[in-house]
């Protein structure tokens, strides 16, 4: 373990030396032949009324490392991304993240076709799935410090895995895109790379457009079919083997006067998750449904300043007496959470955020306070919708 850590440190140092050389060679300007490099620095000060090590959501078998995070000062996931067109047909992107455990993790590493034609785009490697609205968004573009409870409980924050994605953009006047993905089946809610390393598949459709010059929208429907083989939850681990099927409906509405978001803008975002898992949990036959949603609104009331409000709700079937005392025991509790945040950006590259959660996802209410910075340096980030 110690040896592994040293190895990752050495790798990181090498990466940084290489990075500084690359940046020097490119004179900071975007050089067509060098990859665009962007580094996200992210850090948090957190204060909780409960011990985050005891965090559970009764009724939900959680993935590893899902919870409110560490207390006190901590480096959040800082990310390093390198991306470029490989040639006229391929684009490549690589994102390494420094995790809370001080190890380096490959978050995304993929290639993608560029201008293949007929509206088709193929992506291969490790990447965030295109399901839902928030799933493919990197941490620096989140509007809150943490993910909505539905993402935390049912996708282990975000679904990422090794696989292949094919998208087709319809040649319509409005936006209409279909996607299909096949994955290895390691990323939660899958586990254990079932079916010879072809353990999960997804399907999604997104559509959207402009209602008028000031208002735009995006909506989607996604399906995830994941096979779990000895998927572990908690410590000591509880084991689940079976199928996890998830449906996500998402909707985003954005408003900016005359379509100019610089002064003020508003964003309303809703996602609904409905999941059914069946198989064996700790050796007992298990078949139960869970659902949940979040709704959030972000308002930039003057340039640089934004406020946000979010409500999260989850609900799980009572799986029966056989599961009393396990993570699936709902204890008669319906998890919910309220969050408010205020953030300030000097430029689009820097952001400071204050967030408060009244978290009733566990049986005991928790007050969570976060003070966070998210800064990006290097190449100009993309303004995705």
């Amino acid at each position: 373990m110690c040896h592994m850590k040293n190895l990752t440190r050495i790798m990181l140092v090498n990466l940084l030396i290489w990075l500084s050389l690359a940046v020097h060679a490119a004179k900071v300007t975007s050089n067509e032949f060098n990859p665009a490099i962007s580094l996200i620095l992210n850090g948090t000060y957190s204060q909780f009324s409960n011990d985050p090590d005891d965090y559970v959501i009764p009724g939900f078998a959680l993935a590893e490392e899902t919870g409110p995070g560490e207390e006190g000062f901590s480096l959040g996931e800082s990310e390093l991304t390198m991306s470029a067109n490989i040639d006229d047909l391929f684009y490549g992107s690589f994102t390494a993240a420094l995790t809370a455990e001080d190890s380096v993790e490959v978050e995304e590493a993929y290639i993608e076709t560029v201008g293949l034609g007929k509206g088709v785009t193929i992506k291969a490697g490790r990447f965030y799935s295109g399901i839902g609205y928030l799933n493919s968004k990197h941490l620096h573009s989140w509007d809150f410090r943490d993910q909505p409870l539905v993402y935390r409980a049912m996708l282990g924050n975000q679904l990422a895995d090794d696989g292949l994605q094919v998208r087709w953009l319809a040649p319509t006047e409005f936006y209409l895109e279909f996607g299909i993905e096949g994955y290895r089946g390691e990323g939660f809610p899958a586990g254990g790379a079932a079916s010879d390393g072809k353990g999960s598949t997804t399907l999604f459709v997104h559509t959207g457009g402009d209602y008028n010059q000031s208002n735009s929208w995006l909506a989607g429907l996604s399906l995830v079919n994941a096979e779990a083989l000895d998927r572990e939850t908690g410590d000591p681990a509880e084991i689940f083997t079976g199928d996890s099927e998830l449906v996500i409906a998402d909707f985003v509405w954005k408003w900016a006067p005359n379509g100019n978001p610089k002064q003020t803008n508003f964003k309303l975002q809703v996602e609904y998750f409905m999941r059914s898992e069946n198989g064996t949990y700790q050796g007992n036959p298990y078949d139960a449904d869970q659902d949940g949603y979040y709704i959030q609104a972000i308002y930039q009331f003057i340039p640089r300043w934004r406020v946000g409000l979010r409500y999260d709700s989850l609900s799980a079937d009572d799986p029966g007496l056989a599961f009393a005392g396990t993570a699936l025991d709902t204890q008669g509790h319906d998890p919910e959470r309220w969050s408010v945040m205020l953030d300030w950006s000097r430029t689009e590259y820097s952001r400071l955020r204050l967030q408060y959660n009244a978290d009733d996802s566990g049986t005991e209410s928790d007050s969570q306070l976060y003070l966070q910075y998210v800064m990006s340096l290097g190449s100009h980030g993309a303004h995705s919708f």
Binding site: D88, E173, A382
Partner: protein, 300 residues
């Protein structure tokens, strides 16, 4: 079943429509207007932004992705102006015709010499562009150069209509050159005049007309104006004969109005691009109105 037929109909109509005209995606209204001058009804033009939007700060909205998917030609400024959204649109569109290097990819800024190319770029300097100041459309001489190149590109994409495009180019450039002479005569009084600006969008206009830019209200490009910096600026400008302060239709007017009041000089909103004022319907009226408003402020 009905909705399947409806979608099929949409798809078919999309394809057949595309064959009659060149589908043009113009990032900004000035280029939509220029394509209109050069291609007339041979082009079906979609304009991605309006005069009331800041072309630096656009999101890759779903509607824009759908339009780039169907485009035969994109006409944008380049020089980093659309860096936050155009590359994303191009990647998501999966459209081979408009990728960099293809005939369907036209950047106006690349056709002309740009001003203010920095020796060194650092984000602490604000939103500066390594490729130079991108607001090239405010110099009519540069527009003429861009028009030549754009017209050639139209011929390349649609060779059957070569004669048509060449005739339109000749007609446009003849009218344009006459207009330039007229504007230069009208604007003689503006030569040497000192002006404060909200954002550094006017260097090409000022270079053409010999106007002196003495101050920028943003302390750094793209960073909102701060009260303390404005107070400093007022102090610094006390001994400078500033005749007016100008800002673009899409920009916040508060800082300009404050400085105008404090210094007792006219505050002028300029259209900046086509549709930026009621009577600005094309590139000709853009310069007509711009010069008229500057002259009116000078007389005030």
């Amino acid at each position: 079943m009905k909705w399947i037929m409806f979608i099929a109909l949409l798809l078919v109509s999309g394809y057949s429509y595309a064959q009659q005209q060149i589908n043009v995606f113009a990032c900004e209204p000035e280029w939509a207007s220029l394509v209109q001058e050069l291609a007339g009804d041979k082009a079906n033009i979609y304009t991605a932004t309006t005069a009331f939007q800041d072309p630096h700060h656009i999101e890759a909205r779903p509607s824009l992705i759908a339009k780039v998917r169907r485009a035969d030609l994109i006409v944008c400024t380049g020089s980093g102006l659309e860096v936050g959204w155009l590359p994303l649109l191009l990647r998501q569109s999966a459209n081979p015709k408009v990728q960099p290097g293809q005939a369907g990819y036209f950047l106006a800024g690349d056709q002309v010499v740009r001003l203010e190319i920095p020796e060194k770029v650092d984000r602490s300097m604000g939103d500066v562009h390594a490729e130079g100041n991108p607001h090239v459309h405010l110099d009519p001489n540069r527009i003429a150069v861009i028009a030549e190149a754009l017209s050639k590109r139209l011929v390349q994409l649609d060779p059957i209509n070569k004669i048509f495009y060449e005739q339109r180019r000749k007609d446009f450039l003849a009218k344009w050159k006459t207009a330039i002479v007229k504007w230069q005569q009208q604007a003689r009084l503006l030569e040497g005049v000192s002006i404060a600006v909200n954002h550094n969008s006017w260097v090409y206009l000022f270079e053409w007309l010999g106007i002196q830019q003495v101050a920028v209200l943003e302390s750094r490009p793209g960073i909102p104006v701060s009260a303390s910096y404005l107070a400093q600026l007022k102090h610094r400008l006390a001994d400078v004969p500033v005749k007016m302060v100008i800002y673009a239709a899409y920009q916040n007017d508060r800082a300009a109005i404050w400085l105008g009041k404090e210094m007792n000089i006219p505050v002028v909103q300029l259209p900046y691009t086509v549709d930026g004022a009621d009577n600005v319907v094309d590139l000709f009226s853009l310069f007509d109105v711009t010069i008229e408003r500057l002259l009116r402020a000078l007389e005030a």
